[in-house]
Subunit: 121 residues, 2 copies
């Protein structure tokens, strides 16, 4: 039986909504999520876990209270547990997030930017 | 303070050895490892964990006892816990593995193809 790999570009073609992570795979209790990012997100942190950003297209900026990091396509960054951060992108960036299942995108801030979890595509 | 993202292509330029995974980042107790794959690996499984393959360049084939999957650049596949598999590539493929720290590349098979762990680049 021939199985299919998960094509990241093909999965991005299935949605256009920004800031709404879509799950494409799960490894143990971690999920791989695709997200379209444009504009500024809110300051937040994840008190219980690190969070990985891998940029697939475009450019992503992550601000910290003590600095920032710029990622372009093919670059990865791990935001450590509890570190306050604010992602942003001047033009739309296509990003893969890797983090434990159930992590809330707005961390302990909550509010209207909070996205639904477990939206598989 | 401006921090640096991890550039996957740049990290691959730092080593040429095949079948020798190099760690580039850690998220909680999981590691991101880059590996150059060419030829056939051995049949093995990982009894305690799933394992993720993301192909960055080239093509990767993973055989299972009941089938196979072919991955090209930009494609991802999660091999589930305990599933026997044999990765191979006719030409060199550049692959990122995501799995818990300490996973042995040959699983419970061991033997001469077993690679050293925690080789950071």
């Amino acid at each position: 039986m021939s199985e299919h790999a998960i094509n990241l570009r093909g999965k991005f073609d299935l949605f256009t909504q920004q800031w709404s992570p879509r799950v494409i795979a799960q490894m143990n209790d971690y999920q791989f999520k695709l997200v379209r990012i444009q504009g500024d997100f809110i300051w937040h942190d994840h008190p219980d876990t690190d969070e990985t950003f891998l940029v697939l297209e475009g450019r992503l900026r992550i601000e910290f209270e003590d600095g920032s990091v710029e990622l372009k396509a093919g670059e990865l960054y791990v935001v450590t547990k509890g570190r306050r951060h604010k992602p942003s992108a001047s033009e739309e960036a296509k990003v893969m997030l890797i983090e434990p299942r159930g992590v809330v995108n707005t961390g302990r801030e909550g509010g209207p930017r909070t996205a639904e979890n477990d939206l598989w595509i």
